[in-house]
Amino acid sequence: MGRNPVTWLGSPTFPDAARRSLGDTQLRGNLRKATTTIRGKRESAVAELDDWEQLRRAGEAVKDDVLANLDTYLERLESAVTERGGVVHWARDAEEANRIVLDLVKQENADEVVKVKSMATAEIGLNEALADGGVNAIETDLAEVIVQLGDDRPSHILVPAIHRNRAEIKEIFAQMPEPPDSDDPRALAEAARTYLRRKFLSAKVAISGANFGVADTGSIVVVESEGNGRMCLTLPETLITVMGVEKVLPRWQDLEVFLQLLPRSSTAERMNPYTSIWSGVTPGDGPQKFHLVLLDNGRTSTLADEVGRQALRCIRCSACLNVCPVYERTGGQAYGSVYPGPIGAILAPQLAGDLHDEQAASLPYASSLCGACYEVCPVRINIPEVLTHLRAEVVEAKGKRTPEAMAMSAAAWVFGSRRRYEAAQKAGSLTRLLARGGNLSSLPWPGSKWTDTRDAPVVPKESLRSWWRRNRG
């Protein structure tokens, strides 16, 4: 078995990466703007439903039921999909999933495929594997196009190019045959439409992920905004869907919970523009060949961890990213994984399954334990609890604390209370604190241990306190 690509090979540990991105004021500006907007919108979208808490508890319970009976529901899903003309494949890890997909694409004699944004395929590095096999994978989600054409990495679950502002996007799109003539979002969207239209109409094979797969009915659900999903799910002759095993839902009825929780938590809308649901193959309508690849890649070992398994309830809404003070300051790429932010800090190391890997082991420290993520999570994942649990495991795995782990413990500890923020603020700024080079001698242990390297201090643009007050009221 090869290395799990859920974390990016060669990524620096979180504190090192965070130190770098904290110096990038453009990045921080872009992120602050975007996350502030979405935070406010999410709150009003959620406030509209007076049964939000009941929905969250139902969502949590349905997902726990899934985890408790995962084998049963997967077998049920398999037979329902098969009955309706689909073919189900099982993949133990990224390598196996990539091989299955590549073989299926080759069977169709295709050298180009269109893709709907999917976390599972990003997690397994499918595009790279297809490229190695001579197949060009074309991302069709606007944000993914920005990432792909910018030769960049994603930094957010829902909006992988959240770190880019409109002016930067216009520059990236300049390489399109028909580049946008302004940085107005409408013009940028229009350019993407023109760029992708021919690709959609000529593609023979599409690849998607799945937000949900209903065991009872074999229904696969893809939630999206732009219509690129509908294009991929409708036009090509062959559709290959890669779905993490934990995405299965027991009953059709369960969708009534998740189709309320997901849109309001992710794009902060009453409903996202498009949701497609299909079951196997529909004669004369849409793809006439359908393959479902059920992916483990670290999920069953995560399931074995009593505390950590709740991360498998995640519906990838990204609400926890948008409220996270650490994410907002460091950006998503600092996490070195397709899963950044609070969910990434607990999911990526568990899927990677190797706490001796310095980078993966540093992720559970990428948090202040402030609890905002738990409050917004639509399936009530107690992220702080899992973080604490994983930190203990990291310590156990290593036998001793590494400087990185120590550095992050210190950051986490300082983030942990208002009083300590203020102390840290007196001693320097948060930015300097994370920069490891600040003068922290006035801080009590463990902050005082965090002085092992001497980097040029990053000059703060704004004190943490005023930032905190302004953003969290």
Partner: protein, 200 residues
């Protein structure tokens, strides 16, 4: 060597798993709205789609009004005869149209299966007057007829009404993206103009 399937299922079965919880269904499965038609109209309009009302007997007239001067309009083979108003160049999906025909058409007229007032959502199930999914996807303009008895208030009511067997498409406003600075911009790949005719 065990198959991947057996191995994954085996790994799951080897785990000491929690007992499965009872799912609390104390959220609102039905919601009340004084005027579901008005609520639907308001919520659809929030997505920058246009909503027009029509009494049953004036529907053909309203359809003609919307489609006047637009050019070729695609129709699923089973749209009611009176919807195919004169003065419009109709393109029926019988025999099935090619994608290039759909590309060239100015728009599409369809019915729907269910509409959800609270979220401003129209659901197509490929049933009567809706046709294949591609018909309502490729043309840039979509006129959708919604009858009052197809409207429910909440998402749970819609899920209950829908048949999971058919391919379903939930449509809430015209295609849009939030990918640029997390702000909603209308009009990417799906129909950029969505108009809804509410018949009551």
């Amino acid at each position: 060597m065990a198959s991947a399937r057996d191995e994954i299922l085996g790994r799951i079965r080897a785990v000491d798993r929690p007992v499965s919880p009872q799912v609390p269904r104390d959220y609102q499965r039905q919601r009340h709205a004084d005027d579901p038609v008005a609520l639907l109209a308001e919520r659809i309009a929030d997505y920058q789609a246009t909503v027009h009302r029509a009494a049953t007997r004036e529907l053909p007239y309203r359809i003609a009004e919307r489609l006047d001067g637009r050019g070729t309009i695609v129709a699923p083979p089973d749209v009611p005869g009176e919807w195919r108003v004169p003065g419009v160049s109709w393109l029926s999906d019988d025999p099935p149209l090619g994608v290039s025909d759909l590309e060239e058409a100015a728009g599409v007229l369809s019915g729907c299966a269910v509409a959800i007032a609270e979220t401003g959502t129209i659901v197509l199930d490929a049933g009567r007057a809706q046709g294949r999914r591609v018909l309502t996807l490729v043309p840039d303009y979509h006129l959708c007829v919604v009858h009052a008895d197809q409207i429910v208030v909440s998402v749970p009511e819609a899920i209950e009404r829908l048949d999971p067997a058919g391919p379903l498409t939930f449509i809430s406003g015209p295609s849009a993206t939030s990918d640029i600075e997390l702000d909603r911009v209308e009009g990417v790949h799906g129909p950029r103009t969505l108009e809804v005719l509410l018949v009551h």
